[in-house]
């Protein structure tokens, strides 16, 4: 597949995902007033992304002793 077409599909799916997060936030925010808007966005971005879809959640050790995603 041409690279430009791949990029455009990936951007389209990112757009769809972002819209899904925003729609869900609009629905659920009134039910969880104690959760801040920022945290709600972070939580929904994780909750709505199934495991196996490229999620990253481990901090990996590096030779310098730091841990990085």
């Amino acid at each position: 597949m041409p690279r430009r077409s791949q990029r455009s599909r990936s951007s389209e799916s990112a757009q769809l995902f972002a819209q899904r997060v925003l729609d869900t936030r609009a629905r659920v925010a009134p039910l969880v007033p104690e959760v801040s808007d920022e945290d709600l966005l972070l939580i929904l971005q994780s909750l709505l992304r199934p495991i196996g879809s490229g999620r990253r959640f481990f901090l990996w050790p590096t030779e310098s002793g730091l841990h990085v995603p």
């Binding site: 659920v28 939580i43 990253r56 959640f57 481990f58």
Partner: protein, 162 residues
Amino acid sequence: MSRDELFLAELLRALEEAKLEAIVVGMTAAVLQGAPVMTQDVDLLIRDTPRNREKLEKMRTVLGAAKPAEVSPLSKPLVIMGAALPVDILFERLSGGLAFAGLRARAVRIVLSGRTAVVACLADVIKSKEAAGRSKDQAALPILRDTLRVQEALKAQAKGRK
């Protein structure tokens, strides 16, 4: 799949090959249920039987890791090092009086690469961290509690639609 998911898939494969029944607990369990946090290792809870000690040995061989070592001379948990990431092995129960059978009964099942992970439910992860009371657990509790609230709100909403 990301390398994080690949490592988890490899761990599930090792558990399956060793026929070792384990529950994913701790922060990895929280992450698998949507908590926006990161962690440096995987915690597994198993029953403490001689047979499981043998299976543990098989599992670490499949992972190509070192023999399990004591986390400290005063504690029972073991750590398997030498795999891509450390795997902590806990036995029988978690802080908060959470025993293996109860945790398994309330656990959620998450499929990755065709294998099923048995994962402690978020409410149990929170309960164990509240009881453990370590400062790193205390720091994570607010976002874990918020994730549980959101999870429950989404479930209630889905139920209301049916």
